[in-house]
């Protein structure tokens, strides 16, 4: 039986990859954030996952407004990065796990979700940065990828309740998978930040703490807010916490917090790292 070893959650601010590229991890601005990953490195070295199920949002690399899926599941044998248009370094290609992807898709549709299925899919910094942080210096990623995309760009966005239910459906798929894989679940993005409008620069540690305090033991508490209220509380891009909520669902019914780090600011963002294990 496959085993879900745990889940980690992290911001995916593009500037992080610039800091890695320059070797700025020990600089005063960056150290409080990067130090939050030491515990994640130790945990991954002990757990040795070989598959990663990643919930993230595309930023206009693979999807454009001509066809914008609310939920999209990758089912490819590999996932490349490509030029995102603003000078980020190109990230390493991921190997896929199409058999597990299709198993997840079967479960989602059986549970009455209607995902877009992608046999070709580029992955952007929202997928790659969490691996750059988790496996520094790796020549190739030690995990195969099942990427699940959530629309956090064009409203109407799926509700937090719906994202949690999506994640729980993914959990049912992982729990019934008969392989010997060791699976890590990853949620990326957030926490509070707003890039656009006169309110650019908005962050809200009270709401972020509420999310961090409830994600492990009571994720349903995060589903009480409408998307509009989530934008008010967390910023226009803070709604990326939807990826965290879905990932929490995929981890399984119970969870315990192993580690957390929270630091303001990284770029325009309240940056957070959280590590959970199944209870």
């Amino acid at each position: 039986m496959a085993e879900i070893v745990g889940a980690y959650f992290t911001s995916h601010v593009p500037a992080i990859s610039g800091a890695i590229h320059r070797g700025d991890q020990q600089q005063p601005y960056w150290k409080p954030f990067f130090d939050g990953f030491i515990r994640v490195h130790e945990w991954l070295a002990a757990m040795k996952p070989d598959v990663a199920v990643v919930f993230s949002n595309d930023h206009g690399l693979n999807f454009f407004l001509n066809a914008m899926p609310t939920f999209a599941v990758g089912a490819a044998s590999e996932y490349a990065n490509a030029d995102e248009g603003w000078g980020l370094p190109l990230y390493k290609t991921f190997k896929g796990h199409p058999e597990l992807s299709w198993h997840v898709i079967e479960q989602l549709v059986a549970d009455e979700f209607d995902p877009v299925t992608c046999q070709q899919m580029l992955v952007d910094h929202a997928v790659s940065i969490p691996f750059e942080l988790a496996y520094p210096g790796a020549q190739e990623w030690p995990v195969r990828l099942v990427p699940i995309g959530i629309n956090t760009v064009q409203h109407p966005l799926p509700s937090a309740k719906r994202c949690l239910a999506l994640g729980r459906s993914v959990h049912r798929a992982l729990a019934s998978w008969q392989g010997a894989e060791r699976i890590v679940v990853i949620g990326t993005g957030g926490l509070s930040h707003q890039l656009d409008g006169e309110r650019a620069g908005f962050m809200n540690p009270d709401y972020d703490r509420f999310c961090l305090d409830h994600l492990a033991a009571d994720p349903d508490a995060l589903t009480g807010h409408s998307i509009e209220v989530m934008v008010r509380l967390s910023g226009t891009q803070g709604v990326e916490v939807l990826n965290w909520i879905a990932a929490r669902g995929a981890l399984g019914p119970g969870a315990v917090e192993v580690h957390r780090n929270y630091h303001i600011p990284i770029s325009n963002t309240a940056a957070a790292t959280l590590l959970l294990e199944p209870a």
Partner: protein
């Protein structure tokens, strides 16, 4: 639960535009042009002849004027979405702090100081108006 008044969902969020269907329809040409900047050749073509490149994507007069003035709030009012606009900003070597400063009427140093102040315990309102 963090405090939210019952009517808060219906009130506009200050300084915030939700990128909904109406905005996405209004901004389609501008966002399509920005999406094209994923390719280096298109970035070079824009820089070589901005007028012709904008014409190729059929920007509306409002969109064209906002791009010409590097007016980020104007681009958002014309339906631009920040995830795509960031690719345009990248052509000019602007990062999200530069773009934040442009939208809030602060210098880049003031905008960065506002972010750091929130890390030192100030609320957004205190930091933004301080």
């Amino acid at each position: 639960m963090p405090p939210t008044s019952p009517k808060s969902a219906a009130e506009p969020i200050p300084g915030t535009t939700l990128f909904d269907g109406q905005a996405a329809a209004k901004g389609y040409q501008l966002n399509a042009m920005c999406f094209s900047f994923n390719e280096a050749a298109n970035r070079a073509a824009f820089l070589a002849d901005e007028e012709a490149y904008c014409a190729r994507y059929g920007l509306t007069p409002e969109q064209r004027a906002a791009v010409a003035k590097r007016d980020v709030l104007g681009m958002i009012a014309a339906g631009g979405n920040i995830y795509y606009l960031a690719k345009l900003a990248g052509i000019f070597g602007l990062n999200v702090q530069d773009v934040g400063a442009l939208q809030t009427g602060k210098t880049v140093d003031q905008f960065k100081a506002m972010l750091l102040a929130q890390g030192q315990g100030q609320s957004y309102e205190e930091a933004a108006n301080g």
